[in-house]
Symmetry: C2
Subunit: 241 residues, 2 copies
């Protein structure tokens, strides 16, 4: 299917967003559908998914290519799925979707193991057994599914504010360069956004906790959506080597 | 002494840089002396310290306010000391300086616990027992000395390139707001640099490993000095609240 996209026969990949009723997933959904990417918002409940799809159309335009579905159906129909759920529910979500991933699907996990998962502070993180929430997800995914982690430094508020370009770089990591580039192609459709290849999936151990730093910064400076840009290069995207 | 600086009677704080013969410390020394800040480059050996001071004068100008001294004497004469040493030697350095810190001194530790300390990769990190290299340093400092951690995302190359302003934010953390602001005042003297208060010293657990991410990014994109800017605000510095 992705070959057809590359050849320009299909306009784009089809995207699902598990957790798309939450702020981060919803913001991402809206940015993507505005860019013309067909998105299915996934939720545990069909009616909540449809309600969020309705809100996305209200924000992005009545003809925006977005619908809602229960998570298993959303995932089964998508070439690329974002998983944007709180850490407390992350493992259960992956277990429940185990039999629904299409072969070769790309998954982009945005989870940060904030200490809020166990009643702690959002400026602190847990250390998952596997090293990171993403590596825990990897352990729960079928082998043929390709995992990328990212978006930990992009908060919901600037995603949702369609009036402004996104003043943020999206830091991605993963063990499959093609999968990172596929997620990166979507990032590049969001005005202002750039993506940076930060290395293998284990880099999620360092990238995920950045959410806690930005929450700390937001609180200290009275902000809602601080983010990160990398310096040292004007253009990022897929590395040449 | 710092009261006199504030009152404009002394031009600035006096700064020591332990590890100032290494690339990062040397780059920082040069940027500070160019800005008129008196710096003593510290080393274990007097002759190496003096050699580095000579190199700093060669880069910054013959009348640049820089000299060299063995670490204990450098530290004893400074109100603010940067410690820029490899993680493998960090604890020993702090132990050796235990009796030499002036009361109320501010220390800014820039150590990242890269896995190179034990023969591992520079794109991987160790997890220090105390949580971070900075917290290990805290445990080895007298109570009256105030510790800040930062500069983990600022590499030596752009520091040393005096032709270009520094396109980088300096992420600081620490438990003493005055100490963070004192380090921040020095950061603000480096053209292009801004400083951001990222929270308590324990945030070093998240900030220190960023060095490994940037080394990974440098390798992937063929760069020498990628860095970080925060977005969401034009001016950072000391938070209003």
């Amino acid at each position: 299917m992705r070959g057809l996209v590359r050849a320009g026969i299909l306009p784009t990949v089809t995207v699902a967003i598990v957790g798309g009723t939450g702020d981060e997933g919803f913001g991402l959904a809206v940015r993507l559908v505005v860019a013309g990417v067909p998105v299915t918002i996934g939720s545990r409940a069909q009616d909540r998914a449809e309600e969020a799809a309705g809100r996305a159309r209200a924000a992005a335009g009545a003809d925006a290519p977005v619908d809602g579905a229960e998570n298993p159906r959303a995932v089964a129909g998508a070439e690329l799925t974002f998983v944007t759920v709180p850490y407390a529910g992350q493992a259960d979500i992956y277990r429940s979707l185990k039999d629904h991933w299409p072969e070769g699907a790309v998954v982009c996990d945005t989870t940060t193991p904030l200490a809020t998962a166990v009643g702690g502070r959002p400026t602190q993180v847990l250390r998952p057994w596997h090293g990171s929430a993403a590596e825990q997800a990897r352990a729960l995914l079928p082998e043929g599914v390709r995992l990328v982690a990212g978006f930990h430094t992009v908060s919901a508020e600037p995603l949702t504010d369609l009036e402004e370009p996104l003043d943020a770089d999206v830091l991605l990591c993963g063990d499959d360069p093609e999968a990172k580039a596929a997620v990166g192609e979507l990032v590049e459709r969001i005005p202002g956004a750039r993506w940076v290849d930060c290395g293998p999936l284990s880099m999620a151990r360092i990238l995920e906790p950045l959410t806690a730093v930005l929450i700390s910064v937001n609180r200290a400076y009275g902000l809602e959506g601080s983010g990160v840009r990398l310096t040292g290069r004007d253009a990022w995207g897929r590395p040449a080597r």
